[in-house]
Amino acid sequence: MAGFLSAIANIISSDSTYINGALFVALLGFAATGEWVAERSGTLNISVEGMLLAGAFSSAVGYDLTSSIVVGILSGILGAIVVASLQAEMSHRLAADQFVVGLTLNILVLGLTGFLDREIDPTTSFATRWGVPLLEHVPLVGQALFDQRWPFYLLYPLIPFSWWLVYRTRWGLELRSAGENPQSADVSGIDVNRRRRQSIYYAGFTSGLGGAFLVFAQVGRFEDSIVGGRGFIAIAAVIFGGWTLRGTIAGCVLFAGALSFRLSIQGLGYQINTELLQSLPFVVTILGMAVFAHRVRAPAALARPFVRGIK
């Protein structure tokens, strides 16, 4: 037991735990930020998993063609936005069921990227590492937060920007009203489905960044089913965070911490109940919802399609 405790102390004081943790946080953060925007407008966007995967694959292809990380990231965004456009146009223009569209897109993208990866096999590499002077020498978290490969730093402006967009612009207000009370929003002249489509496009944009981050800063290459369900963890983070951006990011940090802790403790040779740790994000989120369900409220029209005149 004493050995185990000192192992935990080791993990908590080692830099690699924080570096891994920061990488996990970043991927979840990219995906969850966009997912949060989409959910505030009333879409439970299940296809975030597919968007991440499409973003990762197309950024790998972009790099393969041009050997430029910037082009890779841009094409990653483009790939994810293609998926977003299918989700948006089908569920909020054609009024098809958003879950059918989302689930299908996940299967479709998984098959498509797996298939194309076999046929094309793009080669990629890591982006260069940028250290922020002074800050990178802060003990424990310095390296994790300020000495990463550069796509990592895109997350820093993205989060406050998304917050500003949703809470401080007219567009954001209209978007939130589309998620809370679409009938009233419609009557006051807001094109509800248009705002919802735009918010899904925004989720595509951030997931594209996330996919590119995964390829250029975390893994270094594209692999079949590289995302491995982390899109669903991002959805759990949004719910866990009670549909606020602050809570969402806290959820990402908590779940990433659990993932990183698992890696480290296995690295030290300790057997730990991995099943429990793996299901932690989901169990915690469900418990959180059950306990705080009356205090934390989902956007009132979450996952409800809006069709004018019917209700």
Binding site: G114, Q278, M289
Partner: protein, 360 residues
């Protein structure tokens, strides 16, 4: 043009577009489309014994879809069938070996506990929904991963699901194999082994359709789905009917899992519970229900088509084109099948609007 003809043209058109897109994809990546198509047909129906395989996959898909139809008609969005199915299979496995008993009785016990397992898993979401107000969409989705991890936990412990050392050889995370006498029969018809569950599933589809349209219970359920407020004013208890609809939906998924364990043969773990046992049957079954627009009888046809794509994909690999192409074909087909109803809906609305302006 007659409405029926319009529907037909739209459906044929969108399916053709989906197939054409898949063909273009195969051709542009250096493969050729014709052998892939031939392999799909061979693998699903033409080669010897493949009818049985396809029907064997169609049965659990249909069962899952039926459960989805029931909860969907009550206006509840259950998207956790994959987890409920896995839990059903795990309950079936555990109780089959824990209780023992002679063949046929054991089989019945196994199927019942499978349904119970699925119902319990969906029941968690149901209780959270009606007691704590947690949206069932979210909880069912999140419980999928938890189910996967719970079963993985069980498969790692020999007091739960793991087989004894002598019976598992050098494999880990595998349950005992179901004894020959306890399996669901697979009668041989015209050179195909047809799992018994196919017939059960089709009969259940008809029963579900009748119950939903011809009984008071079904009427109240649909009422709840159409307008919960009216239903409550008319004395339909939301929590009572909602919880039972979700749990029955879960029970169907659990039954599907149990029948895959007891009668799935080589396609599903060969009478053993293994990690990843559910192999997307839950997700696909959900799609079947939604593509069939929550009609129990239509789900029979859709389940068969999806099962054919699934079994056909095994044959595609031999053509030199990656077998994953069938996932793409399936995805494109589902998206294509979504378009006609949406287009018709939008057209009907436009017509209605013209009609009202004309009257005014």
């Amino acid at each position: 043009m007659a409405r029926g003809a319009e529907w037909l043209v739209l459906y044929v058109l969108s399916i053709l577009v989906a197939l054409a897109l898949s063909a273009v994809l195969v051709e542009t990546t250096g493969g050729s489309w014709r052998p892939v198509m031939t392999a799909l047909v061979d693998g699903s129906v033409r080669a010897p014994g493949r009818w049985g395989e396809t029907l064997g996959s169609a049965a659990p898909l249909l069962l899952v879809a039926l459960g989805t139809v029931i909860s969907g008609r009550a206006g509840l969005v259950n998207i956790g069938q994959e987890g409920q199915l896995l839990m059903g299979a795990a309950f079936a496995t555990y109780f089959s070996f824990a209780l023992g008993g002679p063949g046929p009785i054991n089989l019945v016990v196994l199927l019942i506990f499978g349904a119970v397992g699925g119902a319990v898993w969906a029941g968690i979401a149901a209780v959270l929904r009606f007691w704590r107000g947690v949206p069932e969409v979210l909880s069912t989705l999140l419980l999928v991963t938890v189910a996967g991890q719970a079963v993985a936990y069980g498969l790692g412990r020999d007091w739960l699901l793991l087989a004894s050392k002598a019976n598992r050889g050098n494999r880990n995370q595998v349950s005992e194999q179901l004894a020959t006498g306890n399996r669901l029969p697979r009668p041989d018809l015209f050179g195909n082994e047809i799992p018994l569950m196919v017939f059960v599933a089709v009969i259940l589809a008809v029963i579900v359709a009748l119950v939903l349209t011809r009984t008071v219970w079904g009427f109240r359920l649909r009422m709840l789905g159409h307008n919960p407020r009216t239903a409550q004013r008319a004395g339909v208890s939301m929590s009572h009917y909602g919880v039972s609809a979700l749990m029955i939906g879960g029970a169907f998924a659990g039954l599907a899992g149990a029948s895959m364990f007891a009668g799935g043969g080589f396609s599903f773990g060969n009478y053993r519970l293994v990690p990843g046992f559910s192999t997307n049957i839950g997700w696909t079954g959900l799609l079947v229900a939604l593509v069939a627009r929550e009609k129990a009888v239509a789900a029979i046809v859709v389940a068969f088509v999806f099962a054919a794509l699934r079994t056909g994909s095994g044959f595609v690999g031999s053509t030199g084109v990656a077998g994953r192409i069938t996932d793409v074909v399936q995805g494109l087909l589902v998206l294509a099948l979504l378009i006609p109803p949406a287009v018709m809906f939008l057209r009907d609305r436009r017509r209605a609007r013209f009609a009202t302006t004309a009257r005014a």
